[in-house]
């Protein structure tokens, strides 16, 4: 089974600042990590490969430094990584991004399954996975919490929604976006990490994937961000509970219940 896992490098902080001109996150100076939801997508891809054989290809679009997130994916079990990087990709919204990723998936060829994280923690749109499926005209299931069964032509998944879950059987090739419940991502081994450091990572440009330049970057992005602002800081308060251990435990449970935390 040939599996492509789409991953994204995101800032590892809640302290992101917004550029007032471009309305985009100022990424300079922020530590970058793999989007946490994508670690679950990668783990699921690796598990499916371990079970069924085949190959896992990690795919990302971003600046040259996004190569780091591909090395992280290789350390965690991906067989190879591909970076889409060019100025022409810059400024792409979710539609243009999913177009570029879909073109890269077509170029990889014979892909059976694309797995993405539910959403990226910087944009929180949850649109890229479904966007890829729209561009490729493949079946998709979003918020997948379990892969129930896979064979050569079909995949059955458990899809989470507000009222419970659905069991969906789809023809392959297909696109999944996954939630945290699907697995526990493995911690990369030292051996994997050292091998990943030495791996060659090809960089593909728009012409390499046969992308229409008018469908990339700002030109290819139908959405315009008119205003962005960081969320208000979370309000925290401290309550000191005093009394015997039993009284404290009772008071703690009461406070947690009042906040609907238990």
């Amino acid at each position: 089974m040939k599996i492509v896992v789409c991953i994204k490098q995101v800032p590892a902080t809640n302290d992101a600042k917004i550029d007032p001109e471009t309305k985009r996150i100022i990424r300079e100076g922020l530590k970058a990590i793999m989007n946490p939801f994508d670690t679950y997508a990668l783990e699921e891809g690796v598990r499916l490969r371990e079970k069924l054989g085949g190959e896992v290809i990690a795919l990302t679009m971003g600046p040259p430094k996004a190569e780091a997130v591909l090395r992280e994916a290789l350390a965690a079990g991906a067989d190879r990584g591909i970076l889409l990087s060019d100025r022409a990709f810059g400024g792409s919204d979710t539609w243009a991004t999913s177009y570029a990723l879909a073109k890269a998936i077509e170029k990889i060829g014979d892909v059976d399954l694309v797995i993405c994280g539910k959403q990226a923690i910087d944009g929180d749109t949850a649109q890229v996975g479904p966007g890829i499926s729209a561009h490729l005209n493949w079946m998709q299931a979003a918020s997948v919490m379990a892969v129930e069964q896979v064979d050569e032509s079909c995949i059955t998944v458990k899809r989470m929604h507000e009222e419970g879950h659905d069991i969906c059987k789809m023809q392959l090739p297909a696109v999944l976006t996954v939630v945290k419940d699907i697995n526990t991502p493995r911690i990369p081994s030292l051996k994997g990490r050292l091998a990943a450091q030495k791996a060659q990572i090809p960089v593909w440009k728009p012409e390499d994937i046969g992308a229409d330049p008018d469908k990339l970057g700002l030109n290819g992005s139908p959405t315009r961000v008119v205003k962005t602002q960081p969320p208000d800081p979370r309000q925290t308060d401290t309550i000191r509970i005093e009394g015997t251990a039993q009284e404290c435990a009772r008071a703690l449970v009461r406070e947690l219940r009042l906040r609907s935390l238990v």
Partner: protein
Amino acid sequence: MLHHIQNKIYHVEILPPKQESEKLEKDLELFAQKYTRVMESGYCACITDNAMGNLSFQGTEMIQELELPVIPEQVMIHLNTFHTKENLDEILNDCVNLGIKYLLIISGDGSERLPKLKPSDIGVTGSESVTSVELLQYIRREYAGKFVLGVAFNPYEPPEHEFEKMERKIAAGATFIVTQPLIEKNAVVDRLLEKYPDIPVIVEAWMSKKLYLLSEAVGYTIPEDQDYDPIATLKMLHQTYPQCGVYLALLGFKRQYDLIKDIWV
């Protein structure tokens, strides 16, 4: 473990590189240097397991990848409850294959990225979580006779609770005890020594000058500017607890290492 105390073998903590290290090659080299130095000194290298919940490489994979020698009497691996079952067994099997016999079993500090063992993973019924007690029981059952198992003792926790836990740890197979860092004579540790005269106890010496980092462990705020002399504290611990071994936490390999060799004589 008694032999370590009788032969004045220090337990020297070594932290493996963090997963997020941006200078991994250098960190690996440094780890290998520290490990080799501890071996050459005849001390026991104690390798932590994701200490403070920081994702780090495992001691066993460090030893394998760097092809470091294992002298069974001189290596101790920390093992906590934040692993998948598969990973736990991999570590334990690696320890067996490498000849590592000393394990310090702790509940450990978790983090969002670290999986936690589930009771069902290790055949535990009647408990909602896995603590060091359940982990000890599992290792003793599944790896019978393969390891010498130690546990942690925290004199800063409510003593009755801590002593009750220690009873269970010993019943589960612990044969030596390592305390939290001591910076002065501690009445709860004195009680521990009285209660378990036949069990080797290793007291932890805090070798960093940054004493305030211990605030959380001891349960009160230590000011950042508090003067602290780790070497003087180490000497005091030897005097106060001559029957105990000593675990050196955060020992400075550049400035402190050469100073310790003449202290425990």
